[in-house]
Amino acid sequence: MTTKQLHKTTESQSKLKEFKALGFIIVVLFPALCVAAIGGYGLIIWLIQAMGGIVPH
């Protein structure tokens, strides 16, 4: 394997890595966090109401 070929492999490898990372955070992580955050918000309101608190609407 020539140096040039090796260089090309690492280049395409790290390019793939970047794509994967982007895909992971944008398609999986952030939506999941967002749903969790909204769910948590709902849970907090529910708990406040369950303890007899009044939540403004």
Binding site: K17, I25, G42, H57
Partner: protein
């Protein structure tokens, strides 16, 4: 682990190959897709189709709704499940959705998948919804109904009076309007569920000529099958069962009545205002329903009293064999409810005719249903100085 380490390394330094443009474009588009998708999902779970896709919802509440004005009416506007059962404001809606996740649990374990299971749980489920409506001042109703838009002049006099006073206090609608979209839970026990849980619903068969005691305020009828009510039998009242037929029993009630008006209220004893039964005007006017005997004059009030006996029919349920469980329940309720604010007086501190006034004056401060109220009042009267003195 190594995967995440690599991932973090990639994310933690400037992109070498992806352009800023492609990253922001991807993020932008994904943002749109996510938010759109989220709202679509939220909307989808907020449709009637979604609600009734579950068998227990389709077979019971949905069918019941179809018989009501919230399903079809002159104006052609109808309420769907989420209109009443899911708050409309965003935050509360999300909270409700989280809360509803427990329904998924119920569906998974088939908590209410049959008619019997549903009926068993109906009171519990209805109570939960009532509590929610009460907490929100019936906001769900008020999304459509508005006190300010009510056409008072087309209402009956009674409705006007009731609605106007409700409007002044911006009262919660379900305070009065329960069971308008779905069948009410079995109200026999719903009236005083704790009491019934304590004393039971009574035996399934009765011995004639034996005494029994009413566990709730019960309707009285003229015949074993007819629907016409002849009055009501007060709670914790001793009656003698004379005959059984179908799901009713014939009972003999005795006591004293005041010789005023139709004299349709029967009291426990001469000169003692302790309710035994209240008959309807019709019953009081019908010959042979109330049989009068000797008369006596109460020197305190100058009123003439007459000993009476009557025989009427009542439902066979909620007639129990002993009076003691009723008094035990009443004593506990009296002690706990009254001691919240003050040291409750001894039962024998007042006499049987003083207790009702005392008790009614305090009742506004506690939360007691009608049956429990009637029971506690009777307990106090029965254990007042009037009787305790005699027992000594």
């Amino acid at each position: 682990m190594k995967y995440f380490k690599d991932l973090w390394q990639t994310l933690n330094k400037p992109a070498k190959y992806l352009t800023l443009g492609s990253i922001s474009l991807t993020a932008f588009i994904m943002g749109i897709i996510f938010w759109g998708g989220f709202n679509t999902a939220l909307e989808a779970t907020n449709t009637e189709e979604f609600c009734i896709s579950c068998h227990s919802m389709e077979s019971k509440p949905y069918q019941e709704l179809q018989a009501t004005v919230h399903w079809s009416n002159n104006s052609g506007v109808r309420a769907t499940c989420p209109d009443c059962h899911v708050p409309h404001s965003w935050g509360r809606k999300i909270a409700r959705k989280m809360e509803a996740s427990s329904d998924v649990w119920g569906w998974l374990f088939q908590t209410v998948n049959t008619s019997e299971k549903f009926e068993d749980k109906r009171l519990e489920m209805a109570s939960r919804e009532w509590a929610r409506f009460e907490r929100d001042d019936s906001l769900a109703c008020k999304n459509c109904h508005n006190y300010n838009s009510m056409k008072w002049e087309t209402m009956s006099k009674l409705a006007q009076k009731q609605m106007k006073s409700a409007a002044e206090r911006d009262q919660s609608c379900v305070d009065c309007h329960k069971g308008i979209a779905h069948t009410l839970p079995e109200m026999g026990t719903a009236r005083a569920p704790q009491l019934i849980a304590e004393v039971g619903t009574g035996p399934s068969s009765f011995t004639n000529e034996q005494p029994y005691f009413s566990a709730l305020t019960k309707p009285l009828y003229f015949s074993p099958t007819g629907d016409v009510q002849a009055g009501t039998l007060n709670v914790a009242t001793k009656v003698t069962v004379l005959a059984s037929e179908g799901d009713r029993v014939k009972v003999a009630i005795d006591g004293w009545r005041k010789k005023v008006g139709l004299g349709r209220v029967i009291y426990f004893d001469f000169g003692i205002n302790m309710l035994t039964a209240q008959l309807s005007k019709e019953a009081a006017k019908t010959d042979g329903i109330i049989n009068g005997f000797e008369e006596k004059e109460d020197t305190m009030t100058g009123l003439k009293w007459q000993r009476v006996e009557t025989e009427l029919w009542t439902d066979a349920e909620y007639l129990i064999t002993e009076q003691k469980p009723l008094w035990d329940y009443a004593r506990t309720t009296f002690r706990t409810s009254c001691s919240v604010c003050h040291t409750q007086p001894d039962e024998a501190h007042f006499d049987a005719n003083t207790w009702p006034g005392m008790f009614q004056g305090m009742i506004a401060f506690v939360n007691m249903d009608d049956d429990t109220q009637a029971l506690v009042q009777k307990y106090l009267q029965q254990h007042s100085s009037t009787f305790v003195k005699e027992a000594h």
